[in-house]
Symmetry: C2
Subunit: 118 residues, 2 copies
């Protein structure tokens, strides 16, 4: 079937939208090596804090990260679940391509068999 329900997942809309930005991808990559404060995360980008916080907000609402404020410090951590959902979508596409080539192979074999060439 063409229109698998997983293609309609609002989670995937939000996750792919969040990942369509280089700053946000870098934040995800950074958090992959451990939790970090907003200040630490913002440092490499040379963005004003309000601009940077907008990116954090997009990442948080996509479910890719979570943040917690303790005292004056807000710490972010990766939530791997939705990232894994997106990764799974790619795996499904790959499985489809690969089975397609297998099907073509089988078809060729069948056709050859019918012609009596094999």
């Amino acid at each position: 079937m063409v229109c698998h329900m997983e293609n309609y997942s609002p989670v995937l809309n939000d996750v792919f939208h969040a990942l369509a930005d280089p700053t946000r991808r870098s934040v995800i990559a950074r958090l992959g090596s451990g939790s970090a404060s907003i200040k630490e995360l913002a440092e490499p980008f040379g963005l004003g804090l309000p601009s940077f916080l907008k990116h954090i907000k997009v990442l948080e609402s996509s479910g890719l990260i979570a943040s917690e404020k303790v005292g004056r410090v807000r710490t972010c951590k990766l939530r791997r679940g939705n990232l894994t959902a997106a990764e799974k979508w790619f795996n499904e596409q790959r499985t489809a391509w690969e089975s397609r080539y297998e099907n073509l192979d089988n078809l060729l074999t069948t056709l050859k068999g019918e012609k009596g060439e094999s």
Copy 2:
């Protein structure tokens, strides 16, 4: 290093932007099982042709699909290269998480060693 160059790839910006829409993900999934005409692709969505063509344009400019017009029929096919680039990005994140746990293990071992040396 935190800000790997691959996070700044404009290809990934375009690919993730293209995938942030359920219609476009469904078209990619459909093309995974073989090339198709615009008409065939549009059929399941109940969208007007102009709206559907906008999606096709986004997919084409992201490099995820290519199209060719022969006579009056425009046929689309998947270009797997950029989809693979995006898949690779996920694999890299996973490798980072997995090596993180390994690094924590190594760090603990090193700290134990240093305490023993002093």
